[in-house]
């Protein structure tokens, strides 16, 4: 079977998500290694910046439009994309490992009876086969996976593949109106958490732990996050105590994150927490206890009182 890659792009509020650029770049590099064709598809929305995708090497983009598809529907998106896939004859499918990608990718895999590897952080080729690397046990181990079926589905972890600098801009964009598909499962409303950055997508994260002593002190965590334009994270102890919502929890039963900068405030570093954030590119720990395990993986540490150090840090950053 001749290989052909399809990258599934994702839009939110009519903008292409950052991870879609990363997936496009990963797909483009894979297409060069396999010496095969690549194209992209996007479902729903009124996309303003669709041509930008061409900057990452993909020459052909199909926009499948239907106003009813602006919001995600697992049944409708699955049907629409599988029909498109069969039409163009793609056998390698790449999508971001986002809440949408994680929901959609397995459905597509099941429809195609294809093998699937999710949350991929590295893609290599070996004798025309693809070897995907992904973390397991929340990052305590890595596994290399080979998919043996002809059709293969991969979801790509955000913040790992660097889309690099855009180079060219000459992609062909095809718009197709599609008729109303299967809406047996339908999103009827999207509720956004007001003005908050999500830890799973953020490139900067400020997290607080039990060392913050009480819920009200998280104001300090939020203030530092605001100065940096970072998302707020929390340790499990803090979430279990009801100080912060579960959506902010970083760790093995929370979110696994890989930001450029992770600042841990008053977090001692239980193994479950370290598992969820150890792949952060730069880790800063501020904690009174110089023997806390968090310092074992921190790039920079201040073994001091968060209530003294953090206000000084905020002031310094504001300078």
């Amino acid at each position: 079977m001749t290989n052909k890659i399809l990258v599934i792009l994702e839009q939110r509020d009519n903008n292409i998500k950052k991870v879609s650029y990363e997936v496009s770049k990963a797909g483009f590099e894979l297409s060069q290694k396999l010496n095969c064709a690549i194209e992209a598809v996007i479902v729903g929305g009124e996309i303003n910046d669709l041509s930008k995708i061409g900057n990452y090497g993909i020459k052909k983009i199909t926009h499948l439009k239907n106003s009813e598809l602006n919001k995600y529907s697992s049944s409708a998106y699955t049907k629409t994309i599988v029909e498109f896939l069969n039409e163009i004859g793609a056998n390698i499918i790449l999508i971001g490992n986002t809440s949408l990608g994680k929901d959609l990718a397995p459905r597509i895999a099941a429809k195609l009876d294809a093998g699937i590897a999710v949350d991929v952080i590295k893609i290599e080729t070996s004798e025309n086969n693809i070897i995907a690397t992904r973390p397991i046990y929340a990052g305590k181990a890595l596994v290399d996976i080979k998919i043996n079926s002809e059709k293969k589905v991969f979801t790509i972890r955000p913040n790992v593949f660097n889309p690099g600098e855009p180079t060219e801009n000459n992609s062909e964009i095809i718009v197709k109106e599609i008729s109303s598909p299967d809406f047996s499962t339908k999103v009827i409303e999207v509720k956004k958490a007001e003005g908050k950055l999500d830890v799973a997508e953020a490139s900067l994260i400020v997290s607080g732990g039990r060392g913050m002593k009480e819920a009200a002190n998280f104001k300090l965590v939020e203030d530092l996050a605001e100065v940096l334009g970072a998302a707020v994270g929390a340790s499990r102890a803090v979430v279990d105590a009801g100080w912060r919502p579960h959506a902010e929890q970083v760790g093995q039963t929370g979110k696994t994150v890989s930001p450029n900068l992770y600042i841990a405030l008053g977090i001692s570093g239980a193994i479950q927490h370290l598992a969820g954030m150890r792949s952060s590119k730069c880790i800063v720990a501020i904690n009174k206890d110089a023997d806390a395990p968090i310092f074992q993986i921190a790039d920079y540490g201040i073994a001091g009182d968060v209530f003294e150090v953090v206000p000084a840090l905020i002031a310094e950053l504001k300078k």
Partner: protein, 248 residues
């Protein structure tokens, strides 16, 4: 209503993971296995649904003899029946989901709860795959669940918010922390669970679509430097973040 809950038996989240000698699986020595934490939310939601609308809750687990511990825990929480699908082979999510789908069909269950992911392989796709193989609807990563007749309204967690989803049974719901507070097993429940028979049968075998080539430990991060003990270290920290790490 027949409600099924699929549960995994996984290494404790506090376990240190060592790679086994085959370099394709972990070394189970000194590892404690537990009921997958997310499956507790699934069991709780199944029990709550049964309490509201009546019916029966059946626990299904695919694995070896030790999986019975996790099935037993679910029974102690209040589930009615347990099934162990015995399997000693290596499975990918596709063959696992097909085997689960087959049993769900046999059980005639029309509502299925699962944890949103197992904390060993972190795949978070078993629910969606199983639903597709059954032709069921599915809502994943659910933090709120309501059912009225055939109609399901569920909230699922997404980046920076949530989606309100409508669908209908038959359906699979994958459960996220925040959905409910799992109950503790009562002493009465524990005693009753001991008497319940866990039905054992061989899991159906399907072709794996993927295989593990090798497992490895991530490259250990070297501990960096403690640059100070109070706020006098702050200017140096900011300088390092800007000039050395280049992250701000």
């Amino acid at each position: 209503m027949k409600i099924a809950v699929c549960v995994s038996h996984v290494p404790d989240t506090a376990a240190k993971i060592k790679i086994g000698s085959d370099a394709k699986s972990i070394d189970p020595t000194d590892v404690t296995y537990i009921l997958n934490p997310y499956d507790e939310f699934a069991i709780e939601e199944a029990l709550k649904t049964k309490e509201k609308f009546g019916g029966e809750v059946v626990i299904i687990s695919l694995g070896n003899e030790s999986n019975k511990e996790s099935v037993r825990k679910a029974l102690a929480m209040g589930a009615d029946n347990g099934i162990l699908l015995k399997d000693s082979g290596i499975r990918d999510s596709i063959s696992l989901s097909k085997a689960l789908a087959e049993e769900i069909k046999l059980q005639n269950a029309d509502l299925v709860f699962m944890g949103k992911q197992a904390v060993d392989y972190d795949n978070s796709i078993t629910g969606q795959l199983t639903a597709e193989f059954l032709g069921f609807n599915c809502v994943s990563v659910v933090i709120k669940f309501d059912i009225d007749g055939n109609k399901i309204t569920a909230e699922r967690e997404i980046e920076g918010g949530k989606e309100i989803v409508e669908t209908s049974i038959p359906a699979i719901i994958t459960c996220q922390k925040g959905l409910n507070e799992p109950r503790y097993a009562s002493l009465k429940g524990i005693m009753a669970a001991k008497k319940k028979v866990i039905e054992e049968k061989n899991a159906s075998v399907f072709e794996n679509k993927s295989e593990v080539i090798q497992m490895s430990k991530p490259v250990g991060k070297q501990a960096g430097k403690i640059i100070g003990k109070d706020s006098s270290a702050v200017p140096e920290l900011v300088r390092l973040l800007k000039e050395e790490a280049k992250v701000i």
